[in-house]
Symmetry: C2
């Protein structure tokens, strides 16, 4: 499970002896988080201080696809005020894409674009796909003799990158999850006199980190949520129905949180199961639909009305309730990526290393990009209780420090958040057309 | 339409000549809001100052059903700290129920309970159903010679009570809606390079106030949401598909907000329509499913992947992002209800009366309970643009003052909100058993 990085600065073979000078490229990738822009801002700020090495600060419009399409923009052309405001800005200001960048042709194209624009430093900000692409681009550049420093900055709400104690982006989503399920649980508690079940669906196809974070809302027996279904632990539906009945008997209500990727004991995604004749929520892989399935299941098996909430993308974009700790750690990761790059390190992803739990102290480290891209972090078994139905104390110890601290959101005259938007005006192309 | 109340204090026939002394009953009813507890706290605080008139301050556990079941609790027995903390507490601390209280037997039972406990003041806090029940209880009490002062305190996120400029509870839900759709729109904007549609479903079966409030997030052409479907304006699905295509062409994305109760041109709820063979989201009345239907419709007709968010009960319980204006107005309504009751008025609901728009000034007034209970407020046509696809300036003028101001949420050592919980220990029964 979670291990501290052992790939520190000691591994000199990954360190370049001479520093190339040239352009820098930042690319955001993967699904958005509330902190990826804070990481970008911190990295930009750090890079600006070394104009002799970093000749030009570029962004890839729409992530990895922006590299292939040679859609690059120059941060120097952006409104300085918009750049400054990037710390408090949800989603990905530079843009992302669902394109995985895996073919040899794609990689070759990326290196071609890097060569054409003399890009010597590449900072991917994102998830495993981003780290994987960056690693492969770095290797191909080396083969082709194009000196390139690659340093990854992790950012994913799903918290499924290995080699880092946790991922920037997770703490804020966890804070939002815990708060909103606390509020929804009070809603359920107050609305109904008799029996009532609320099912809230939380994204996360393979790992249950986000689902587990909802468990923080429960401080005592009365508090919801009462049951958590994480993808790591298959659900016995008969036992589950009994637990719901039991909750209704004891408290008159039951609040259930189900992970998008929850499976039954045969390994089938709950979201794939057709419960009623003709009712089919099947799709490609686990999809939204786990709450819908469970809602119908409970209504049929337990005989009570259910309410279903699916915050979906709201939880990973909830800037208005972000965690200060998370935001600061993302900025630290962004800053350290640039610092390490300046020291000649390449082929790493910055990691977060927990130095102590109480008081919480967190430092940064490094993991090899290749390992970060291939490793995956799932919820350890002991982070859940013995029955597998709720979080256990070790998860609380792990997660609580990450959600702490308010973020002050700048509000406009209309009383709503002011989030900046980059212009992303493209710089002239130097390569030929690219086709998928 | 929205009209200011004309049922002021001038109507003396509704004013009692002598003030009865006795117990006070507060009952929360309808679906929860983030401000109903602030209204309760303000009313309690005001009532405590007149112990000579108000001998005892009782709450009905679980709303109207609590009256019938004679489940009453004494606020004097609650932890004073929990009471003080009620201002910042989501949902309904006293509890609510889905029971409408409409039969003669129910009403007779309610009056029996009022008589047994010498309840002389009744303050319902909630929606139209609550006002209707309170009105009928008040009339029957009068018939039976039980002197009873009834004064309603409005609280509903759906904003569908007539005779009041707006309803406490709406401003906070609107603030949450506008902020989260702003954030979800940025998520959509950043995640996809090509075409992408997000459909967010907003509660509201008959009135489009909550759906319209999402429109505030759009400050310019680039901002989402791009299309709003309110229940008041039937949707031509072919035209809708064209608008989505057009949005994708212009911006590469389209964010759609659909009200739960949106209908097509034949008057059928979108949520009731079976699009695929065997796929049936029909249920009793309009139900969750409008976003699901539209998502499938767009995927089939326009050929792009859709994302569907259904915050459900999250939006009406989002205490963490409540509007200060809304919370203060709810408290004012609660306080004024008690003041008016002390002046001998009965059979009214407190209303909010907008004295001026810029600067925003709001006072309270009174509307007859019978009229408040039977009237319903829907979104005026001119609050939407000519095409009926987005809000118009008059709605902005109307809504923006209501969402203003941050609320500071008390956080625990764990970094999560501290919301109080009442004990609601029941006082001894004096009436016989009640059966539905």
């Amino acid at each position: 499970m979670r291990i501290s990085t052992r790939n520190g600065m000691g591994e000199r073979f990954m360190v370049k002896s001479s520093m190339p000078a040239g352009a820098v490229l930042f690319a955001q990738s993967g699904t958005p988080t509330t902190v990826a822009n804070a990481a970008l801002l911190a990295a930009l700020t750090e890079a600006k201080r070394k104009a002799k090495v970093f000749h030009r600060l570029l962004g890839a419009r729409n992530g990895l696809l922006g590299i292939l399409q040679e859609e690059l923009f120059d941060f120097a052309k952006e409104d300085p005020k918009a750049l400054e405001a990037l710390e408090i800005c949800p989603a990905l200001a530079a843009g992302s894409c669902p394109y995985p960048l895996r073919t040899e042709a794609d990689l070759a194209r990326a290196v071609e674009v890097f060569q054409a624009h003399n890009i010597r430093y590449f900072f991917p900000i994102g998830n495993r796909d981003a780290m994987n692409a960056a690693d492969r681009i770095g290797r191909l550049a080396e083969q082709k003799g194009h000196e390139l420093v690659v340093m990854g900055i992790p950012a994913t709400a799903e918290n499924n990158l290995a080699f880092t104690d946790h991922c920037p982006g997770f703490g804020s989503a966890a804070r939002y999850n815990a708060t909103t399920i606390m509020e929804a649980s009070r809603d359920t508690e107050s609305l109904y006199t008799a029996e009532a079940v609320t099912v809230q669906e939380i994204p996360g196809r393979e790992a249950g980190w986000l689902t587990a974070s909802c468990g923080l809302a429960r401080r005592n027996e009365e508090d919801g949520p009462h049951l958590l279904l994480v993808p790591e632990l298959p659900v016995n539906l008969n036992k589950f129905a009994d637990l719901v009945r039991d909750g209704l008997k004891r408290l008159g209500r039951c609040v259930v949180v189900v992970g998008e990727g929850a499976v039954d004991e045969s390994g089938r995604f709950l979201s794939e199961q057709a419960l009623e004749p003709g009712r089919d929520v099947a799709g490609p892989g686990p999809s939204e639909g786990a709450a819908e399935f469970l809602g119908h299941f409970i209504e049929r098996e337990v005989g009570v009305k259910t309410r279903r909430n699916k915050p979906g993308s709201l939880l990973r974009s909830a800037m208005h309730w972000a965690s200060r700790t998370d935001l600061d750690e993302a900025a630290k990761a962004g800053q350290m990526a640039v610092k390490h790059a300046l020291q000649g390190s390449t082929g790493f992803m910055v990691t977060l290393v927990r130095k102590s739990g109480r008081p919480y102290k967190c430092d940064t480290g490094l993991a090899k990009l290749s390992e970060a891209a291939s490793g995956e972090s799932r919820l350890p078994r002991h982070f859940m209780n013995e029955a597998g139905t709720h979080i256990a104390d070790p998860f609380r110890e792990y997660c609580l420090p990450l959600i702490k601290g308010d973020v002050t959101i700048p509000l406009g005259k209309d009383g709503l958040p002011l989030y900046p938007r980059l212009q992303r005006k493209l710089i002239p192309r130097k390569c030929g057309e690219w086709k998928r």
